[in-house]
Symmetry: C2
Subunit: 411 residues, 2 copies
């Protein structure tokens, strides 16, 4: 008998029929003897409906009142799911974030969980009840309703699992696990049975949308085994776990993540003195623009150039900033390029395996794909390339690292 | 400067445009210098939408979960109204029933208010904020969400007014006050400037749907001056107040209430021994049928007959009960009649004025309206008549008691 925290997202509870299907699934776990705490999101479309009501009235509504408004979405789902469980003879009780006492700070719309009172849930579990909790929400110490930001239901589930010392936290979604890369792009893309928290974090930060980054960080920090599964079909999903869970041989590369959301900016011909990067990036940061990959070079004429990527939406704003910075620093040129793609090879095995970068660059070269930027970390190699070569590059790397083959330890 | 509690019903906040109109009205009170606590219902249609979702899943959903579900309706309105107030530069803060600490018993869907913590509202008022509270809901001592039953927002408003010792509790609705009788039936029906709690209770119990009976009882008990006004047009409305608020001359009759919801049953030829009424009505009560007007007579042959009214929906069930009771008691006949109407003359002035009943019966006789049953209380005379004469009777009485004339003290 295990204690499992399950989370069902908005699509999984998007209609009353789907809520009933979720209830069926929960009952099958109960029949197996598991204790269950279930976290649910708002029915899909509901949060947007509520936001539209607010937009009708105020162009910039108070964050406190927005939290009061949108938190009703999950509150509707918890009650409906309990009714569906009752109908199946399964005792269940619903709790809003503030009822179950998910204490957060008071940063409305992006609150952080500070503490969870597990006592009430534990007594329900002891009484044989399924506990159903509204995701995405909590209350500050004055009882004001807060929300964790969109997608925060994953975080709620992980936090409850940590507080209850659950055996596993299962995130049900519309995909059946984490893939080596996007299956819509690469036919041979393969579901991973396991992935480490670090790898998952790198995948998520590179655009893999399966899980919220904060939830993965939280799960890693509190060592909560996290599993991603499909709400709609049976299957083991992908277990996200600590690297040293067992002594299995790690695959060198676990997956390939990519995104097309970024644009590249270059400023050239800056006299090479200390503090260039901070002058340039400081100005960009003060304009509230987030910078991702950064590369700095010194040219033969002893001038420096700095290249970095920003979100594509921020490109023109960033260019304006660069133009005024360029004058101050005496830089010669500014280049902006929106047609780029970012691509990252992720794998904890890289730590102990040399030559991964070489294999990667060789595979790209073989297909005549020019690498514009390179950035490396312990478990990740990121490259920026021309957007039009993205599919080609992903397929080439997927096959160069044999990601379509089952790993030995999973055979 | 006064402290006013206002309540706006579902129609008054039925769209975002109407919520903005309510915000305008509130701001005009603020500009006058009043402190305001505002209670709102769910947007019209919303509660029914939520109930339909539940009905999709469960034919008899748990009362606890229904309260979790339907209480979201008011929660949406409080946040939207605050946004509309902010837009107008008016500081405001929303509270759910459990946040403002409306403590109730744990009778889900029909909870009763036990205590209200005025402290939080008072500090908001002191800070110059409008306090916006979700009507119809509270929480029990374990923090479970409860609702006061439909229409309970009136009760919330009165209870808050009592707890805050407000100067007035204003109920905004789609009518502009309490009328001498239904204006759709009698052209000369006139809005009353004042009515006593007792009269209002009698009017409400006779089918006048302007206010919830519990709210009026509550207001009377805690001596909260209550005013019914229109959300849509300006006007003084009707003030519901204590009888001895001033020494004005009371009108003999304040209004005429009526309904067509009842049916009449008669059981005849029962041997006249003590306990007949309790035998008959006890059996009816055990079948969960509520009885309204009751009349017992003894005939010349020393047998008794008992006539009473029940809700029309209960007529056939009540008849079945009577048939088995008739056998036990040796009664001779049972008669059932659905085509009746009940009509009541209400007025605290009846206490000190003789001859009201005589005037009433005379007016009905003049129009050849036969009275089937009569029942009297201190401030009310109720008659049951053939349904087809209802309009005629109401008009005759309205004119016999000169209800279309202004009262002296209001001139």
């Amino acid at each position: 008998m295990s204690l499992i925290v399950q989370k069902y997202g908005g699509t999984s509870v998007g209609t009353t029929e789907r809520i009933e299907a979720v209830a069926e699934k929960i009952v099958s776990f109960r029949d197996r003897g598991d204790d269950l705490v279930v976290v649910v999101s708002a029915m899909s479309g509901e949060t947007n409906r509520l936001i539209a009501l607010a937009a009708d009235i105020h162009s910039d509504p108070s964050a406190r009142e927005m939290d009061v408004l949108v938190s009703t979405g999950e509150q509707v789902t918890i009650s409906l799911l309990c009714m569906a469980l009752h109908k199946r003879g399964c005792d269940a009780r619903s709790y809003t974030g503030s009822q179950v006492r998910i204490l957060t700070d008071n940063s409305h719309s992006k609150a952080r969980i500070q503490a969870i009172d597990a006592h009430r849930m534990q007594s329900d579990l002891a009484a044989g009840r399924v506990v159903v909790v509204a995701g995405f929400q909590g209350a500050d110490e004055d009882g004001n309703i807060t929300t964790l930001g969109r997608g925060g239901s994953d975080t709620t589930a992980v936090a409850l699992a940590a507080a209850l010392k659950a055996d596993e936290c299962q995130i049900y979604t519309d995909v059946d696990g984490v893939y080596t890369t996007d299956p819509r792009m690469v036919q041979g893309a393969r579901r991973l049975d396991r992935i480490t928290f670090e790898e998952m974090l790198e995948m998520a930060s590179q655009g893999s949308k399966v899980l919220q980054i904060r939830a993965v960080e939280f799960a890693g920090k509190y060592k909560v085994p996290l599993r991603v599964l499909s709400s709609f079909e049976d299957g083991p999903g992908t277990l996200i776990t600590l690297e040293d869970d067992d002594d299995m041989e790690k695959p060198v590369v676990s997956g390939i993540a990519f995104n097309r959301d970024e644009a590249k900016l270059t400023i050239r011909g800056i006299p090479d003195v200390p503090g260039i990067a901070s002058s340039v990036l400081g100005a960009v940061g003060r304009a509230n623009i987030e910078v991702d990959v950064i590369v700095q070079n010194v040219a033969q004429d002893n001038t420096a150039s700095l290249t970095f990527t920003v979100h594509r939406n921020d490109l023109s704003k960033a260019k304006d900033v660069l133009e005024s910075v360029a004058k101050e620093l005496g830089a010669t040129t500014i280049e902006a390029d929106a047609d780029i793609a970012k691509l990252a090879l992720v794998g904890v095995g890289m730590r102990s395996h040399a030559g991964v970068a070489a294999t990667m660059f060789e595979a790209l070269a073989k297909d005549n794909i020019n690498i514009q930027m390179i950035s490396t970390s312990e478990i990740k190699i990121t490259v920026v390339i021309d957007e039009r070569y993205l599919e080609l590059a992903v397929r080439a790397l997927h096959s160069a690292f044999e990601l379509d083959q089952e790993d030995t330890e999973e055979a």
